[in-house]
Symmetry: C2
Subunit: 450 residues, 2 copies
């Protein structure tokens, strides 16, 4: 497969074809292009061109394109489509994607769009999905699935499946339900291929099936599916009725978004932004953390102001404040990152006390090694044994405290039900800057006997 | 589904049963436990207990358990198993998992283990896989797949599939090959269910099929599969012959590992470590970046030493060095994180120059807002207009430079083929600390006319 590459030439050609209304050529050109690639193209067009292309191509393709384009681009295009046209796109989509798009539409037109969907069963399923919180298994699931009654036999089952399969893009498992719709188990395609056609389903199905509750958080669903290597998982309501199915491709998106969010939090970006967002959006995402850093810096300045009398005799101490602050920040970020990741992957065992003792030993080891280097450098530079001792001893203390703070804060946040990912990055860095400088000057004063 | 929870009581009970050799009870207890959960249990047992449990349970289950346990635990257990026992486990595994385990075995016993595998076809497939680089599509793929010849008809195809499906845990697509084994297209299960049994395959298959080359990088495979929402992708060799298949569950692991690695790099952790690794391993992962930070701090101290004459008259300038360094670091990390993520998700368009101009505007906006706050604070504190001006103007300059450095470095590394993720975190922080302090004192001297 030669991967699709969006070149400037191709984009220019498409813009040209749109401007000159060469529909046949456009059709021919886009025929072979995957919808995910068409979405990439659309992301680069202006609203008018994008709308033209969407209206030109078949709904079968454009519906998928619409789910893939950036949210603001989609919003712009949907504004230019009639309710009937939007309904036409939704008919081609799986219920979960259709519900996601409807959730983005202006309230006034939702009713009308839904009433224009000609497949009433499809419309009903979409409306059902609108009830669920976006941030839950119910908000992720689709209604498309293949289910059979435990009282049927394999032959009926295959017939029924052929019919249901028409609406289901990917058949993973066949779910078995009882007369009340309660999920009883599953049937693998393999079993179905190899079982005799007269066997009753109740004798061939596997009664053990993993499922999640509609209210489960997406991150939990992702953890379960990736731990148990599942490609699809049935979703049940509060009384165990089969209500939908989540497939792994949606979970891949959840995992990516989670990872992106944690990465951005660690880097001090408070909202989901991309490099191509507007300067205003990027400022809103970045300024809050910078402001926190500023307040931390002012705190550090105030602390140093309190030690002003030392500056005449021991100016060298002041030269090392950036070093102390940087080390405190780095150690804090390292230890918090390891804890945040351990919590995210559910592989932290043992008590908080054990963690803290371990981090303390680790920080002491790192601290002593780094302090030795620092000692040699400062001694060579200034030749003062007490000053070098003061700076080096402080460094060890600062690293230990920074490690403990970095370990404790995410564990504490997690215990309180707050996402610990918020703790890495600027939050830890800033608090450790202040702690570090305070400890540094305090110990230096002690050692130097000022 | 009630999710499995590994409690201390359960663990105690299992240890007790192992010590007292109550095999029947152990069997009964573990019967209902999923292999991924058994792996969690094994991770908590000592080597002797773990080996006992692995030997007790059926290979059908323990083989999967072995793929899930931590690498060092697996190594310990495999040491206690004979080559014949290891071969027994490998027989139950898919070829990709089996090859991964063999790659971890000591060289001396590999030959013997392979010769003990009684299914020679399976052994041959595993040996084939050993040839591929771990960090390539070939290293990820499994040999288990269902393929049919384009010259067969649907009936032959179904018969053949039933047989092949016995060895394939999950059938996704049926791949169509010609007489030379070249990948021609695919056949969906749905098509097969709905097509007439007498149709020749060449008339019903879909000639368009995504595939990847054996030498493709895992991250690229992950990008392709998640972009095109694929659940499995066939792997072809240099001349287009179908040689294997990669499934989405392996890709989920790749995505998670990638994300973990980038997160750790951003936090200044240079190796793949977990909170439960030894203090020695954690030190090796953390010390290099701390050392870099130390060198940066020494550089900053040396720079400040060069401005020592200013300290008598303008001590306040020195109080703000941690603030300046922190802001330079934060801005650098933010801008580099956005670029790194944009590069990872392939959604950066436009030239480097455009990026830099945009970041410069953004940094100026943020810088002016933050500098205004800083100005008011320092003025209120010290009442000196020139000093406040010097500090605030410097802050703007530092933020702009930090933003540019943070944007440029990852783009530059990427262009040179180096993973830009290495640029966020300590690398950017440290260089921006030094740049920041240098610019700060230089501008302050200019403004204050010293």
């Amino acid at each position: 497969m030669t991967p699709f590459k969006l070149t400037d030439e191709l984009l220019e050609q498409i813009r040209e074809l749109i401007e000159t209304r060469q529909d046949a050529d456009l059709h021919a050109l886009m025929e072979e292009v995957h919808y995910a690639d068409v979405a990439e193209i659309i992301n680069e067009l202006n609203n008018e061109q994008a709308t033209y292309l969407i209206k030109l191509l078949d709904s079968e393709k454009t519906s998928d394109v619409l789910t893939e384009v950036d949210e603001d681009i989609r919003e712009g295009i949907l504004k230019n489509l009639s309710s009937k046209e939007i309904a036409g796109e939704l008919e081609e989509l799986d219920t979960d994607d259709a519900a996601d798009i409807i959730a983005e539409l202006p309230k006034e037109i939702v009713q009308e769009v839904i009433s224009e969907i000609s497949d009433r069963e499809h419309a009903k399923d979409i409306v059902d999905l609108l009830r669920y919180d976006e941030n839950s298994a119910g908000g992720l699931m689709a209604k498309e699935l293949v289910s059979v009654n435990e009282n049927w036999n394999v032959l009926t089952c295959v017939k029924e499946m052929r019919q249901q399969a028409e609406n289901v893009t990917r058949v993973h498992s066949i779910y078995v339900v009882d007369d009340d719709g309660l999920l009883k188990g599953r049937l693998s395609l393999k079993d179905l291929l190899t079982a005799s056609t007269r066997s009753p389903i109740r004798e061939v199905y596997i009664p053990k099936v993993d499922s999640v509750n509609v209210n489960e958080k997406p991150e939990e669903v992702a953890k379960i599916m990736s731990k148990y290597d599942l490609e699809a998982i049935p979703v049940v309501d509060e009384i165990g009725r089969l209500v939908g199915r989540i497939t792994i491709d949606d979970i891949v998106d959840v995992i990516r978004e989670e990872a992106d969010k944690d990465y951005q939090l660690a880097a001090g970006i408070s909202q989901d932004v991309e490099a191509d967002d507007s300067i205003w959006e990027l400022t809103r995402a970045r300024l809050p953390w910078l402001f926190l850093g500023l307040v931390g810096g002012l705190g550090a300045a105030a602390i140093m102001g309190g030690f002003e009398t030392m500056i005449a005799k021991h100016a060298i101490l002041f030269f090392f404040t950036p070093l102390i602050a940087a080390m405190a920040g780095n150690v804090g970020v390292q230890s918090s990152a390891i804890i945040v990741q351990g919590l995210a992957n559910d592989d932290l065992k043992g008590s908080i006390a054990n963690r803290l003792v371990k981090e303390m030993m680790l920080a002491t080891l790192n601290g002593v090694i780094l302090a030795a280097v620092l000692f040699l450098f400062t001694w060579a530079w200034q030749g003062s044994f007490p000053t070098s001792t003061a700076i080096s001893v402080s460094l060890i203390a600062v690293i230990i405290v920074a490690g403990i703070v970095g370990t404790f804060i995410p564990l504490f946040l997690h215990k309180r039900g707050i996402d610990p990912a918020i703790a890495t990055g600027p939050f830890i860095t800033t608090s450790n800057d202040i702690f570090g400088i305070l400890i540094y000057f305090w110990i230096a004063r002690l050692v130097l006997g000022i």
